[in-house]
């Protein structure tokens, strides 16, 4: 399937939704992709189920601070150089690229790479949403090594990270990102087609596009986007989606610690108060002691009228919002998956309970 110019804004809106409050605003990434399509290049999205087992897929992404990205826009060569580093190490060219993270800005980087290199982009990713760290991938859960990891900046600097521990890969790459000036572009988790089929969260790019389409179109059709979103998500592998709270933002508390924006947001309505805690992404939503939704399920705060996703950086006092929770596909809530990105991976004591 070919990605069209008019799909890009929808895909970005859907990616922001799947970002669960984090993941970085896809605005810059969306412009980069539109720029490529306007220049006449094409983006081919392929179904992971139709991949040949022997094909080589190298995912691409950016890491670092979205705030820095808004100033220091990339040259466009960075993710391609990172991919070349991995290709050189493997002695083989990539047949396709793919997102590691569909939530936020990282849904767009592989599309840009696909357009520039003329290789297809696999309709799948390793997070099914946004998570803050590189080891938090379904690929890792299925035993796939994140390395070789290639990483690059706009100056042409590159680095190859080789370690057999995906946590150490994250730690080292994060350090390099600081030296690169706060943003870096990387390629990691090289896989063959069979591994993609086994380990990826499938059809998430087209999912993001459809979510964005519902949100953007309902505005012009004057329909309730929330009903439509829940009905649609029920037909996907995410299966459950519902509005868990509806109210006005009455408090936003933010602080940073080691690169994370930690904090909480309080949302009030006449029947009570919902408190959502976040670590870049939203982790848990509670009313009193009762847990309404918990990571890895997606908790997205949306404008109560338009259903446009609100990121945690733009949350503010007084906004009218609805909180939509979405259950994640089974591959993301296995025991091994919960060890990697369940509540305990974020230092919480609450146990995961599936969204009903």
């Amino acid at each position: 399937m070919e990605l069209k110019f008019e799909d890009v804004d929808n895909l970005c809106t859907g990616a922001a939704f799947l970002g669960a409050g984090g993941g970085g605003d896809p605005y810059i990434g969306g412009l980069m992709v539109k720029q490529e399509l306007a220049a006449g290049r094409k983006i081919e999205i392929i179904d992971p189920d139709e991949l040949d087992d022997g094909k080589l897929i190298i995912p691409t992404a950016m890491m670092g601070a979205p705030t820095v990205l808004l100033e220091k826009i990339p040259s466009g060569e960075e993710p391609i150089r990172a991919l070349r580093v991995v290709e050189k190490e493997l002695g083989r060219q990539a047949d396709a690229t793919m997102p590691t993270e569909v939530g936020g800005i990282n849904s767009t980087i592989p599309l840009f790479v696909g357009a520039r290199l003329g290789i297809p982009v696999v309709d799948a990713d390793g997070q099914g949403r946004a998570f803050p760290e590189l080891q938090m991938e379904t690929f890792a859960i299925e035993g796939i090594s994140g390395c070789p990891l290639g990483i690059s900046d706009e100056k042409g600097d590159t680095s190859l990270v080789m370690t057999n521990d995906n946590h150490r890969m994250e730690w080292i790459a994060r350090g390099i990102t600081i030296r690169f000036g706060g943003t870096a572009y990387f390629a990691n988790y090289p896989m063959d087609g069979a591994e993609v089929k086994r380990s990826a969260v499938k059809h998430t790019l087209t999912l993001a596009r459809r979510i964005g389409e519902i949100i953007c179109n309902s505005r012009s059709r004057k329909q309730d986007p929330f009903d439509e979103l829940c009905t649609f998500l029920a037909t996907t592998s995410y299966a459950v989606a519902r509005v868990i709270f509806d109210g006005k933002v009455t408090d936003v508390d933010r602080r940073t610690s080691e690169g994370f924006t930690l904090g909480s947001v309080s949302i009030d309505n006449p029947n009570g108060r919902c408190i959502i805690e976040f670590q870049n992404e939203n982790l848990i939503a509670r009313v009193d002691k009762e847990v309404l939704a918990i990571v890895p399920d997606i908790i997205s705060i949306l404008d109560a009228e338009t259903a446009v996703p609100i990121t945690n950086e733009t949350l503010r006092y007084g906004q009218r919002v609805k909180v939509l929770a979405v259950g994640v596909p089974p591959i993301m809530r296995s025991e091994a998956a919960l060890r990697q990105f369940g509540p305990q991976a974020f230092g919480m004591t609450e146990l995961y309970q599936k969204l009903k």
Partner: protein
């Protein structure tokens, strides 16, 4: 005594303001040359006040002319664009996502050269001085009279932009230069967009500021001239001539600030009822709450914020249908005086309901064909619309009054839910000009800093001082300056706790 003027697309309003409120006012049509309208409005307002010209301390003008020029694509110069950024940023060149008709006016003369800073102040690359000079020579060859220079992270350090400006002016002595570091705010593309628009306006800004100055000369007013900017504070006329883009979106801000001043309060909800819509907003400490979204001007994303205003489809001309159960959002608009039943027309409007119901006295009550149940139903519909939407815009539980202003203010004679009181301030038809006259001056500083227990106090003090100095430069008396905003936003996904810090100071003019 101060004079406030609002030059709108239709009317030019002037007020004379004394220490205790409005002394005189006037509303006249805006003239094509601008200047004669301003002269006539000020003259009549001074006469109305029975005041003496020699007692005027200060003249403040709010204008939408620069915004209108961009929207109408008029009086715009072609712009030479230089971005100091290579090897970064080439994935998205300047003018990406701009409307074609505006690009045709600006023309495509964009150059990316080496330079720019990292978030921590290091250089991405040294400034490519030869590249800047070569671009400038091309501008000269193409007869370009205005240039916009933007560097990555220039709100942290504007030195490269200033050095590039010197090089350009060396090559092309009379070229008008706009620097993005003067426009503040992080976000390369919106800041670059604003800088380009600013450069495109550099000829018009000269004409407009000249027209204002000429008006003052003609009136023999020796008082200093200030112009409203987007955040509700004032700029020196000289600075507006160089940075006209800073006046964008000053209209709604002035109107809301004028309304709270006229009501003699600081905190309020405001509803401005026009012919077709009601604009609802909220003010704290005399300033409107800002929207989190950037302003889109003529199809271009800029880095300016607007007051957070909700437009609701209720105005004096709103159609009343379905036995009064449906009011608006369709409206007869400016045709109210020919279409509404109380003016002899055939359309039942919100104004007719207020007339027939006996709480407004406009036109001829006997011409309105609405029965008691329609009047009651329509009144209930209008009440509901206001109740719901005022509640929506009110962001805190505290008791606040509601100020009702604008031509359609007569529609409302009922208590509104969620507010403590409904007030209709006098002179609200010239709230814009009043808003300009009461304004203070400001200084704003934005930085990326790494705060820890050791340096926190020191770094904050330094930035506060810098904002204070800027406010004093803008004309404030030193003793009046206070810090009104300190915004700290963490830069996430990076270790080391870097923080984006924005500090704003405001102060009074010496009057």
């Amino acid at each position: 005594m101060k004079i406030g003027v609002d030059v709108g697309g239709t009317n030019t309003d002037a007020v004379v303001l004394g220490p205790n409120g409005v002394l005189g006012w006037c509303k006249t049509p805006t003239t094509a040359d601008v200047y004669s309208g301003v002269v006539s409005a000020i003259t009549q307002a001074i006469t109305d006040a029975g005041a003496d010209r020699a007692d005027v301390d200060c003249v403040m003008i709010g204008t939408t002319q620069f915004t209108n020029a961009v929207i109408q694509r008029k009086s715009l110069l072609p712009v030479g664009i230089i971005r100091l950024a290579l090897p970064a940023t080439s994935a998205i060149p300047p003018l990406t996502d701009w409307p074609d008709d505006l690009i045709n006016k600006i023309s495509r003369n964009a150059y990316l050269v080496g330079g720019g800073y990292e978030f921590d102040g290091r250089e991405i690359a040294p400034l490519d001085e030869k590249g800047v000079a070569a671009a400038a020579r091309d501008f000269q060859k193409n007869s370009i009279r205005a240039v916009a220079i933007t560097s990555v992270f220039s709100p942290i350090n504007g030195n490269m932009e200033r050095r590039a400006a010197e090089i350009v002016q060396n090559e092309v002595p009379d070229i008008a230069v706009s620097l993005s570091c003067e426009l503040g705010q992080f976000g390369l593309l919106p800041r670059e967009n604003s800088t380009i628009i600013n450069a495109a306006l550099s000829q018009l800004s000269g004409h407009v500021v000249q027209a204002f100055r000429r008006s003052l000369q003609e009136l023999d007013l020796k008082a200093p001239l200030f112009i409203s900017q987007n955040d509700g504070t004032l700029m020196r006329a000289d600075d507006v001539q160089r940075y006209p883009v800073l006046t964008f979106a000053s209209g709604p801000t002035n109107s809301m600030r004028g309304a709270v001043y006229l009501a003699r309060i600081q905190d309020a909800m405001v509803v401005d009822i026009g012919g077709t819509t009601s604009d609802i907003g909220m003010l704290r400490n005399g300033f409107p709450r800002q929207s989190t979204n950037f302003v889109d001007v003529g199809g271009v994303k800029t880095n300016f914020r607007m007051p957070d205003v909700l437009a609701v489809g209720l105005g004096g001309g709103s159609l009343v249908r379905d036995g009064g159960r449906l009011v608006g959002p369709d409206s007869v608009g400016y045709e109210l005086t020919s279409c509404a039943q109380c003016f002899g027309g055939n359309t039942l409007t919100a104004t007719d309901i207020a007339v027939a119901g006996g709480w407004a006295d406009i036109g001829d009550k006997s011409l309105v064909r609405a029965d008691k149940s329609t009047i009651n139903a329509a009144r209930a519909s209008m009440r509901h619309l206001l109740d719901v939407n005022v509640e929506r815009m009110k962001t805190e539980a505290a008791d606040l009054p509601l100020l009702v202003v604008g031509g359609g203010a007569v529609l409302v004679d009922w208590p509104v839910k969620s507010v403590s009181d409904v007030l209709r301030p006098e002179f609200s038809s010239v709230a814009n000009a009043v808003g300009a006259a009461i304004s203070q001056v400001s200084g704003e500083v934005e930085r990326v800093v790494t705060l820890n227990e050791g340096n926190r106090g020191f770094v904050l003090d330094e930035i506060r001082q810098e904002a204070t100095d800027k406010a004093i430069y803008a004309g404030a008396t030193a003793e009046s300056v206070e810090i009104i905003e300190v915004e700290q936003v963490p830069i996430s996904y990076l270790p080391g706790n870097p923080m984006r810090l924005r500090v704003k100071a405001v102060g009074d003019l010496p009057i």
